[in-house]
């Protein structure tokens, strides 16, 4: 019976559920979402591709193309950590709605 007072109060309060997708969460800074690449600052040192735990990044130096397979990515942020440029070319954005109907869309090609 100890929970009765709280239960009655809760009956008349707003529920704790966030009504997604009408309401969206506010993400903290530093949230590790989808990985993005900035062509302008990249020096093609290949460190991000070498250090990726799942080998999700492929870089083509001649075509200056950089691709990440979001399906393989584990969103650990290591690519961002090892990137030597300032500001960093590889960042974790706060994009988290990443579902696709087609698996091939997971591989995102930047550059060209």
């Amino acid at each position: 019976m100890k929970l009765l007072p709280e239960a009655i109060i809760r009956l008349f309060s707003k529920p704790s559920t966030r009504r997604y997708p009408k309401e969206r969460p506010t993400l903290p800074a530093g949230f590790r979402g989808r990985v993005e690449w900035e062509r302008g600052t990249c020096i093609f040192c290949m460190l991000c591709a070498l250090n990726c735990p799942t080998n999700a990044i492929t870089i083509n130096k001649e075509n200056k193309a950089w691709a990440i397979d979001t399906g393989k990515c584990i969103f650990c942020g290591r690519c961002h950590d090892v990137c030597p440029t300032d500001p960093k070319s590889v960042t974790n954005s706060d994009r988290y709605e990443l579902s696709e109907y087609d698996k091939s869309k997971f591989s995102r090609l930047f550059g060209k």
Binding site: K2, L3, P28, F31, N51, P53, I74, G77, D81
Partner: protein, 394 residues
């Protein structure tokens, strides 16, 4: 009434993860049980052997979703001891803060599950709602609700800013109030008492014989807690293990709540003590291709939320030769036969939930060398000697 076999699992609404417990039942009374594990075997120990040490950190996180940080801490601690380096003080404090946050969320999850197994879904929902305070704090500090990957070899990846520390402390204030409320509920609510008192009793003598670890053994009066050895920053915090004498489900629940309060206190103290180390580095510069001398072995232990987590590492240059993970649930779960005997079917889910099993961690397979048929038993002295790569024997 003749007895029959009631298959509890592998698919069962009470179980979050697949495990098979064959219960021999006579009416409602359990006269025997048999545990069959192995449904969650992922082959992680083998996968470690194909990855470099740095990539292995990310793999070790994924052994378990609830205690991932402890796995990486243990793994990194082992590698750091083999390399003979000591991580900076600020990194040690941060490892403790994140670790204790994870202990908080794990205990709250476990208690919510116990409440649900009792048929008390109101308490389950309330506890999970309050657990969200911890999840939000974790997201704030590390960027993700689970799988933080805060540890790198040589320290931690991110620092805790003053703003984030203040927000975490505010969340902890709210959480402390709620945990004290739940202590009252678990202790005094007659509905809860009916289901948890004198259920699943493990005596001190049996606990010494069967050797479970973690809150399960501490609730039976034995104060065994690896944090007493003072790894990371625990040596600077006034840590004492929380024990209880009851040995039943209620005692385990109350013990976990008290541990939550203790964790919250330690996080506060760590954040406070960290202020004097403001600006110092959080990680040592370790070359990305970590090379460890071939043949070097070590043993690393931490106190995960469920008990003592134990990693054995054997090096072979850039990659490990062998990683053996002995998780706390692996050590604890075999007491099931003892604690289930003589109880009713109705008590089975409550008792299992009170042991707080994490079956993702548990399933390991023993590889026997059939060619040489060699078995090796190591003495305690030999194991302790392996710490720090054998450099400093304890």
């Amino acid at each position: 009434m003749h007895d029959f076999l009631l298959p509890f699992g592998p698919q069962h609404p009470a179980l979050a993860e697949p495990v098979h417990i064959k219960l021999r039942v006579d009416g409602e009374t359990i006269i025997g049980s048999e545990l069959v594990l192995g449904y969650n075997h992922k082959g992680i120990e083998k996968s470690f052997e194909n990855r470099t040490w740095t990539k292995g950190v990310y793999l070790s996180e994924r052994v378990c979703g609830i205690c991932g940080h402890y796995h990486t801490s243990c793994y990194c601690q082992g590698i750091e001891s083999m390399l003979g380096i000591e991580i900076p003080d600020r990194a040690q404090y941060i490892r403790v803060v994140i670790g204790e946050l994870e202990r908080l969320h794990s205990h709250m999850l476990s208690l919510g599950i116990v409440a649900w197994e009792m048929g008390f879904d109101t308490l389950f929902h309330y506890m999970f709602r309050d657990r969200e305070l911890v999840m939000d704090a974790q997201e704030l500090l590390t960027g993700n609700r689970v799988h933080f990957v805060m540890n790198v070899i040589g320290g931690v990846r991110r620092d805790i800013s003053l703003g984030n520390a203040a927000k975490t402390l505010k969340a902890l204030d709210k959480l402390d109030e709620r945990i004290k409320h739940y202590l009252g509920v678990f202790r005094d609510d007659s509905s809860v008492r009916n289901r948890t008192q004198h259920v699943g009793y493990l005596s001190t003598r049996k606990a010494k014989e069967l050797n479970p670890v973690g809150p399960n053994v501490r609730a039976s009066g034995i104060d065994y807690d690896v944090r007493e050895t003072g790894y990371f920053a625990y040596k600077h915090l006034r840590f004492k293990p929380v024990t209880g004498q009851g040995g039943d489900v209620m005692e385990r629940c109350l013990l976990r709540l008290k541990e939550c309060l203790e964790s919250s206190r330690m996080i506060r103290e760590s954040l406070y003590q960290m202020e004097s180390l403001k600006g110092s580095e959080v990680a040592l510069q370790v070359p990305p291709a970590v090379k460890i001398k071939e043949g070097l072995e070590t043993v690393s232990r931490v106190e995960a939320p469920r008990g003592e987590l134990f990693y054995y590492l054997k090096a072979a240059g850039e990659k490990p030769d062998r990683v053996k993970i002995r998780t706390p649930t692996y050590q604890t779960f075999h007491i099931l036969d003892e604690v289930l005997k003589g109880h009713e079917i109705a008590d089975v889910p409550v008792i299992i939930a009170s042991l707080d099993p994490c079956l993702s961690c548990t399933d390991r397979v023993t590889v026997v060398d059939t060619k040489t048929r060699r078995e090796k038993i190591m003495t305690k002295h030999e194991i302790l000697h392996m710490r720090d790569g054998g450099r400093h024997g304890h």
